[in-house]
Symmetry: C3
Subunit: 330 residues, 3 copies
């Protein structure tokens, strides 16, 4: 795993005026752009509460959900985000499509592009897949990374940032702990880049040694292998999902032992600040990385994250496709 | 099987003003509400015949089809109903979704709710699933039962009622026979409750003893094991699908024998009134429970039932989500 | 294989005023109607380039994609075409639907019709399936053939005609070569009928004897078994996909040998006119029937074909459903 791959040229994701063209990775994006995304998402937050949850920003545009890896939840939130922007949505499950007829990925992409899609939302089990696709398509097609291998999951990171900002305000005042299976987590990698770029006061990684990447020092975070020490006085606790399906037995003695040492419980949460908030990208393994009483408790923002996810995806889609931000560029 | 479970508190399905909040079961709903549904559905019947089959009642609302059990036909009619109300529709096949990642049903529901869905249309193989889900979600999400186990299928029953009323008028004048596999049928159970509530003159159940529920006496219907006697002078014949996939061999000697004793043929239909109408919820087993000449004959309303199904689903969705009825509550 | 089945009565596809009612096969359609389709499609070509890719022609109408055979690409282009006409689209994968409950195809169709669909787009592995369905439904439902067995693929042929006309103008001046697996190709059959009807100067079929239909003489084309001779001085080269999955080993020694004798390479393309254009219906087998340098070269119109495919499908859907053509009949 490369938790810190060589920096990507910023211009892959931005156009000459510095506006969002593709959304592939937090790394390489300037703080002002991340703030723009958060501001734009904030303006969309109200729409979900209204009876008519639609704005006409992407009316007549086509958004293609290109999922090489199954993910009902992420696909659903992107589909809702696109529909609430009034776009037409095409769901393509590429696992069962013409790849079975021997067509190359490049030909599949060219075909989709020729259908005059405006954006592809890409989920793929290979790290770097979204970057590869962005390098292949013509400039008028926006690529949104919906998770690629262990590399990045930038819309997840931004919805986490939106959730933190709405509840805790300025990042510079905050201590944030990311807890759990850092090694296998594209979410953690994107969160670290987002928190660093937005100027978080302190970012901590809390995990057993076997679940920390070997290059963890290069990430510029404080590393803890003891949960209680890692949570001490933090404002935000972000739990990660234990990626059971990606793990071979060697890294972890048992789920029970993981819970005992790294599970977030009422007892361990008490080490954090009394007003600390708790987050989790879902789906949760209750009783493995988090106690139900905490997941459903007053400090949990887990459901709020889902709602913010639609707003962030609306922001990213509208900015990359129409150049529409809070400040109204066109 | 509980053909007559303990009555449910009416307020699960109704709000304080007696308006529809969830649509889970016919049992417990007052006659005036069922009549409201029929009147509202009647007003939507014309829409399907128009070139523009859309009304803006649910524009900007999100309807999630949450199918834990596959049903192309029912899913399609709910999808069309929601789209003709101008809602956005999200189809989720929960069998293949994050439940495989170990998420609990409750977490899946909370997630969908956090996506700010306005209604879940639920199909599940467990009796009571829709009630359980209604007990979990917040009041602003409407749950529509699209069939749960052997318990209820209330939109099917209401489309049958609409079909009867449009062709036969007042229920109090009518003798209605429900014929076939009563034991396994959620449709039959909902039909009995609907016919009773709407004041049908006489409701008959016609089946072999092995396909009658043990508590059949409590249903307040006349029971016949002889088809010809059961059909004598009835105005409406409702055939049930023989649920072959739910039956073990012990209950039924053979399909051929079932057809000989309980199949609706031109000969057996002649026992009913000459202007009797024939209905079937589909999909039909031709030559098992019904003769093709009857299914396609002049007394058959089977295709009309499908068309009425979309109108009834539009009525239930619009009433539960927006409070919109024929009389114009809001 | 019947490459020239008995002519079908024209009135299956046309109404009494000669307007398009179903679109099943090129054969039997008059030249004026094919020209109408091309003119209407041309008027839709601009829409794909606009930001708002929608016209309200089929607003409130329902288009059902009825795919008995999987085809992501064709399904996607029909779905986009219908959505850009503002229709509601229902995707039904009939392989996994109520046919498994023992319902007959006829009952499935009647049910879909009773849902008041305006058009069925049908893909089926059996030749004649779309004709059969058209013979079953009532006149107000339009059937569009999206490929049936080895019989026809008329929208593919018309998108090819649109591509040729936009780049080469009048058909009467053109020599067109169709190269490859003619025997198994519904595309080739429809192309020949379209080119003949539109008055192409010369139509050539180029294939090994084992991949030519036995009745090839009746098709009214010049036949070549030598690629270089077949390409000599042609204006248009249409390569066919090698239908590997339909072929048993006996017809073809090996893919390598096919490429050596019938593959379109820079070297073999040089036999055609210098301004010849190259087309392929996709998905391509690169290095089997076509060299990548040709597929991606300056003479290739392969991506243009995909874009034209949406315009042609919009034309056919709007003409068959609403009677709307370039000339504005209603």
């Amino acid at each position: 795993m490369q938790i810190c791959p060589p920096a990507l040229p910023g211009d892959v994701q931005l156009d000459e005026q510095g506006r969002l063209r593709h959304f592939l990775d937090i790394q390489g994006l300037p703080r002002a752009l991340l703030t723009d995304i958060l501001d734009t998402a904030d303006s969309f937050r109200g729409i979900g509460d209204a009876q008519v949850k639609k704005v006409p920003l992407l009316r007549g545009r086509t958004v293609v959900n290109l999922f090489f890896e199954n993910s009902t939840r992420t696909r659903a939130t992107f589909e809702l985000a696109a529909k609430r922007l009034s776009a037409d949505v095409l769901n393509l499950d590429i696992g069962t499509s013409s790849s079975s007829k021997g067509e190359t990925l490049r030909d599949t992409l060219f075909n989709l592009e020729a259908m005059q899609a405006d954006a592809f939302v890409v989920r793929h089990s290979d790290s770097g897949a979204a970057h590869f696709i962005a390098s292949q398509v013509t400039p008028h097609v926006a690529i949104i990374n919906a998770g690629d291998g262990r590399h990045a999951h930038p819309t997840q990171a931004m919805l986490d940032m939106l959730t933190i900002r709405r509840h805790k305000g300025e990042f510079s005042n905050l201590k944030v702990a990311i807890v759990g299976d850092i090694l296998h987590s594209r979410v953690a990698r994107s969160q670290v880049h987002a928190l660093k770029t937005l100027g978080a006061g302190e970012v901590r990684l809390v995990a057993p040694l076997t679940l920390l990447p070997s290059q963890v020092d290069a990430m510029g975070c404080r590393v803890f292998t003891n949960l209680r020490q890692g949570l001490k006085d933090v404002d935000v606790v972000i739990m990660l999902r234990l990626q059971k399906e990606r793990m071979d037995g060697a890294l972890l003695p048992s789920e029970g032992e993981f819970y005992r040492y790294y599970g977030l419980t009422r007892e361990t949460l008490a080490y954090a600040r009394p007003d600390a908030v708790v987050m989790h990208p879902g789906p949760m393994n209750r009783g493995v990385e988090i106690e139900s009483a905490v997941a459903d408790g007053p400090q949990s923002l887990i459901m709020d994250q889902v709602t913010n996810g639609i707003a962030v995806r609306m922001a990213v889609l509208s900015m990359a496709v129409s150049g529409q931000t809070q400040k109204g560029a066109a």
